[in-house]
Structures are given as structure tokens and as C-alpha cells.
């Protein structure tokens, strides 16, 4: 499998070409076949729950509640013979799914825009500008990574319920505001850190050349740093999209009335009220999952890079 000597033989330029005896070669081929078998088996195990989700979402109510016996029936049950696409239209029209999708999209788009702007501004200052207290402020910023949401959650909720606002209770609870505003004020230490790491890799000569041409700091941020930072901006966009799309606890504490809720909350209440209509529940779950999967499939390069960068933070 991960035998480094194989890479040495084939990949290092100028490496001594060794004559590999047939028996060794046969063993290597055998090892490769075994590796594929194990990896395919693991893939099936890990993908099975999602296959089951999509299969169940296309079955009739009775068919979901039947137990397959034996391997043949088990795998056959993953491919519904008579797909019930009507499950989707039924699930999505029965509840205010349109409203929930709209609310979720508003949060996702505005939160992501806010994060991209305000986190990149802070990151630019940390990466490119010198100012008294920079090191201290950056240390404080990183230390908030350790701060659990549950510690700040209650005062944040009380704060939004005390500030006069447009909700029926005359404050900001039960509006989307508490789920958007924080993202316009820095967007969180994780994103600032990711962007700062990237910004520090941009050559200083570019800034200096622009400065000589009379560009101010804002122009160097907006016209030089940001246009060169496509990859990290993509990473942050995807992270922010998926995190806000999937978020449950924060919407749960703020959004009380049905028409203001998000997909995550809606799906949860759906679960409570229709616990016997598994086929519709699965259709609703699948609907919420598909956009995330699509974003991941098409942007996974940037997504995984973000994860890797967060891992390096631990070093």
C-alpha cells in the first residue's frame, strides 16, 4: 500500500533502476489488488448510510418498513425498483420548505459575504501592516478559537433580546440578524487565521511597487491582496457556506416562529411531527444534503486545503 520504496524506484529521477524479480513483482501486484479490495469495501461501508438515505427517500411508506434478508435482497433494496419521486414534492410542499430554504439562503449568503469582507480586512492588517499591539491582538484572536460557543451563547442571546429591534417582541430575537451580524464583525478567528496565513505568502514587492505608484493601504488590500487570494477566499466561502447551511444550535436558540426558521430547524420539527412517514423524512433530509454534497464535489480541492491549513495550526 503506502510502501515508500515503490515511489523511490519509479519516481526519483536518476534513481538506480533495479531489476525486480518476478516473485517480488507478483507480490506487489497481489498487494495492490488486496489494497483495492480493502478500500472498496471501506468505501461501501462509509457510503452505505447515504445510499440508504437516497434509496429510502424514493420508496413507498410500506417499502421503507421492510427488512431485506440476505445479501441479494440487501443490495437490491438500495436500488428502488419503482422510484417514488412524488415523495419529494409531497415532503417539500407539505411544510413551508420554500420559506425555510429562503431563510437559510439569506443567512448563508449574507454571513459568507460578511466573513469574506471583515475577516479579510482583519487578516490583511495582521499579515501586511505593522501597528502597536498587533502581536497581542493576534494572540487574543487565536485564543478565541478555544472559546466554546456554549459559554458565550447565553449572554449573546440576552443581548439580542435586549436590543430594540423589528421582531414581534420588539427585539432582535426571532430574526435572522443574530445569525448574520457576527459574521460582519470579523467572522471569527478561524477564518482570520486562514486568510492571514495566505496573505503572508504574497510577496511584499508587489505592495511596495504599488505604494511607490501612490497606492494607499486600502488599494493595496483591495486591488493587490484580494485579487491574488482566490484560493483562500474560495476555501473560506465553502467553509462558511457549509457551516451556516448545517448550523443547528444557533438558529435553534434564536428562531422561534415557524416562518422564520431554517432548513435544519424545519427538518428537525418535521422529524418530531412525522416520525412515522420515513419516506418523506428521508426525502426532506436528502433535499437538505444534496446542495452541500454538490458544493463539496465541485470545490473539494479548496475545502480540503482549508482543513489541512487548520491542521497545521496545531503544529
Amino acid at each position: 500500500m503506502a510502501d515508500p520504496s515503490i515511489t523511490l524506484d519509479t519516481q526519483t529521477p536518476g534513481a538506480v533502476v533495479r531489476v525486480i524479480p518476478t516473485s517480488v513483482r507478483a507480490r506487489r501486484i497481489g498487494g495492490t489488488v488486496l489494497a483495492y479490495c480493502v478500500m472498496i469495501a471501506v468505501s461501501i461501508i462509509l457510503i452505505l448510510p447515504l445510499l440508504w438515505l437516497f434509496a429510502a427517500s424514493l420508496k413507498t411508506q410500506q417499502l421503507v418498513l421492510s427488512t431485506p434478508r440476505g445479501f441479494g435482497e440487501f443490495f437490491a433494496s438500495l436500488v428502488p425498483s419503482d422510484p417514488q419521486f412524488v415523495n419529494y414534492s409531497e415532503a417539500l410542499t407539505r411544510r413551508p420548505f420554500g420559506l425555510w430554504t429562503r431563510n437559510t439562503m439569506i443567512i448563508v449568503v449574507l454571513a459568507t459575504a460578511g466573513t469574506l469582507l471583515s475577516a479579510s480586512m482583519a487578516a490583511y492588517a495582521f499579515a501586511r501592516l505593522r501597528f502597536p499591539g498587533r502581536q497581542l491582538l493576534f494572540t487574543v484572536t487565536l485564543s478565541t478559537l478555544m472559546l466554546p460557543f456554549i459559554v458565550t451563547m447565553i449572554p449573546q442571546f440576552l443581548m439580542f433580546s435586549k436590543i430594540p429591534g423589528p421582531s414581534s417582541a420588539g427585539n432582535w430575537t426571532d430574526t435572522l440578524m443574530p445569525l448574520i451580524l457576527p459574521h460582519w464583525l470579523g467572522g471569527g478567528a478561524f477564518y482570520i487565521f486562514l486568510m492571514r496565513q495566505f496573505f503572508t505568502t504574497i510577496p511584499h514587492e508587489l505592495d511596495e511597487a504599488a505604494r511607490i505608484d501612490g497606492a494607499g493601504f486600502f488599494r493595496s488590500y483591495w486591488q493587490i491582496t484580494l485579487p491574488l487570494s482566490g484560493p483562500v477566499l474560495a476555501t473560506v466561502t465553502i467553509f462558511s457556506f457549509i457551516t451556516n447551511w448545517n448550523d443547528f444550535l444557533a438558529p435553534l436558540i434564536y428562531l422561534a416562529s415557524r416562518q422564520n426558521q431554517t432548513l435544519a430547524l424545519g427538518l428537525q420539527s418535521f422529524q418530531g411531527e412525522f416520525s412515522n412517514e420515513h419516506h418523506l423524512l428521508m426525502a426532506a433530509s436528502a433535499t437538505m444534503t444534496v446542495p452541500v454534497l454538490l458544493v463539496f464535489f465541485f470545490m473539494q480541492k479548496y475545502f480540503l486545503r482549508g482543513f489541512v491549513m487548520s491542521g497545521i495550526a496545531g503544529r
Binding site: A2, A122, Y124, A125, I154, P155, L158
Partner: protein, 311 residues
């Protein structure tokens, strides 16, 4: 544009370039400083103050001293239950997550054809929304028609009651969380790819076999990544909420009543904001304690290259 810039420069004759840079920097970080104050500094202080009060948001706030803490440790029958459940989930779950993530990451660093397909497939469960995953796993764990029992039947094991069984409820949650270790797995992949090939070659020349290379080269060199995954894992696991909230509501017989679920209930269902704040601080201190403990322990087993070079 250039003219405007010139005139501004002359309008501020006292500011040197250094000063202007600092002023610009403060303007750039101003939103974040405001956010830091509003959503981190103030709430941390406020929740500490609140933890010494009794407040339901409707009546007057009342200072009660350490009463909330005393009550929690002496007279709250849910405290030991939720703590025990959460500790069980964390201390059994996190080592398993880390081990499984590493085992999954190892083959994914090979240069086999199609490796990217496997990487994607193994990571996908982790991006599934927590709520959708919870709803799905309720059906998977269905005692009569669930996939989990269908799989058991394939290998001839009698059906189980999973999250509805007192003994299996917590292990079921751990099993489900193992499904989405993709994040840790990806971090391990990055760590494994950072191990220099020369070290493997040197070890091979010294006669180390595959196992010896793994044990003496791979493990020490990825130990910072392992450490990172353990620390992050403990912090996250202590705060398990969404899955338990949706799937079991704490049952059966409080077996899956985790700490944050009870905290949420006290705050937003019973409106005991003071008591819930005290709970949040207790959990915060516990998390800090175990994180600190891991950092202390790390000196014994985490290998940092830079340090080793100094010696």
C-alpha cells in the same frame, strides 16, 4: 485620483508613514475588534457574572453568590448523569475517532490510481448536515426495519435496539460519530504526506520493516497532528448536542442526556439563565483542564522537529 491623494497627504503633515500605517491597520481590524468585544469578551464576562445570579429575563435579576455552583454539585440529580454520559462519550469516542481517522488516512496517502475517488468517498459523510444525518440515523437504528439490524442479520447477529436500548444507546452514538471522522482523516493525510521520504529510506537501510518504519518513523513524526486531533476532538465531544437533541431527547432512561442538552434545557426551556451560565462555566473549566492536561502530557510523546534540531 493622484491629486486627491497628494492633497490628503499635505492635509496630514504630522503623520509619518509609520503612523499612517498604524491608523490604517486599526481601521482594518476595527470590525473584528468590535466583534471580539461584542461576541467574545463581553459574553465571557457576562456569563461569569450571570452564573452568580438568578434570572429569567422577565423578573429582576438576583445575586445569589455561589448558590448555582453549590446546587450543581450537591443537589442536581442531572449533573452526575449528564457529566457521566458526556465523559463516557468523550473518553471512549475521541480515542476511537483518532484511531479510525488514522487507519483511514494511511491507505489514502498511497499513489494508487483513483486514490482521489476514495478520498472523496471517505470524506463525504462528514459534510452531511448534522440534522440530516441525525434524521437518517434514527431510521438506520430503527429496531425493526433499520439498516443497522439488516447488516447484523447478514452476518447472523440478532437484531439490537441501538439508541433505544439502555446499554447500547451511547455506543450507538459513538458508532454514528465514527461515520464522520473525515475531518480528522484529512488532517492525518496532510501530516502523513509531510513525513520526509528520506527518513523511510534511512530506516529501511537500517533494516526496519514496514511495521518498524510505521512505529519508529511515521508515528513520532505525525504526533503533532495526532495531538491536534485529540485536543480538538475532546473540545468538540464535550459539547455534543445536535445528534442527541434530535435522535433521543436524552432517553432511554437519561442514557443520552448529555451536558449541553441539559444546559440548553435549563436556559431556553426553563429560562434559568443564571444556572445555565454556571453550567457553561463548569464545562468551560473542564474543557480547559483536559486541554491543559493534554498539553502537559504532550511533552512526553509529541515530537517537534524544530526542537529536536536544537538538541
Amino acid at each position: 485620483m493622484a491629486v486627491a491623494n497628494e492633497s490628503r497627504r499635505f492635509a496630514l503633515p504630522t503623520l509619518t508613514i509609520k503612523h499612517r500605517e498604524a491608523v490604517a491597520a486599526y481601521l482594518f481590524v476595527a470590525p473584528w475588534i468590535l466583534g471580539l468585544l461584542m461576541f467574545a469578551a463581553y459574553p465571557v464576562g457576562a456569563s461569569l457574572v450571570l452564573s452568580f445570579t438568578e434570572w429569567d429575563l422577565l423578573t429582576e435579576i438576583k445575586y445569589v453568590g455561589a448558590e448555582n455552583y453549590v446546587k450543581m454539585f450537591t443537589n442536581d440529580r442531572y449533573f452526575p448523569v449528564t457529566m457521566g454520559n458526556t465523559a463516557y462519550y468523550t473518553f471512549i469516542g475521541v480515542p476511537l475517532h483518532t484511531l479510525v481517522a488514522l487507519l483511514l488516512a494511511l491507505p489514502l496517502t498511497s499513489k494508487l490510481r483513483g486514490i482521489r475517488f476514495f478520498r472523496t468517498a471517505w470524506y463525504v459523510p462528514s459534510v452531511t448536515p448534522a440534522v440530516a444525518a441525525a434524521v437518517l440515523w434514527i431510521l438506520i437504528y430503527h429496531p425493526e426495519f433499520g439498516m443497522a439490524n439488516a447488516v447484523l442479520e447478514l452476518v447472523g447477529i440478532p437484531p439490537q435496539r441501538w439508541i433505544f436500548s439502555q446499554t447500547l444507546a451511547k455506543p450507538s452514538f459513538i458508532l454514528m460519530s465514527l461515520w464522520s471522522v473525515g475531518g480528522q482523516m484529512v488532517i492525518f493525510i496532510a501530516g502523513l504526506q509531510g513525513v520526509p521520504q528520506q527518513l523511510y529510506e534511512a530506516a529501511s537501510i537500517d533494516g526496519a520493516g514496514r511495521w518498524g518504519r510505521f512505529w519508529n518513523v511515521t508515528l513520532p513524526l505525525i504526533s503533532p497532528v495526532t495531538f491536534f486531533n485529540l485536543v480538538i476532538g475532546v473540545i468538540a465531544s464535550f459539547q455534543i448536542f445536535t445528534a442527541a437533541y434530535i435522535m433521543t431527547r436524552g432517553g432511554p432512561a437519561n442514557q443520552t442526556l448529555f451536558f449541553v442538552r441539559q444546559l440548553y434545557r435549563n436556559a431556553f426551556e426553563y429560562l434559568k439563565f443564571g444556572y445555565a451560565s454556571a453550567m457553561a462555566w463548569v464545562l468551560f473549566v473542564i474543557i480547559l483542564f483536559f486541554t491543559g492536561l493534554q498539553f502537559l502530557g504532550a511533552r512526553r510523546w509529541v515530537y517537534y522537529e524544530a526542537k529536536a534540531e536544537e538538541n
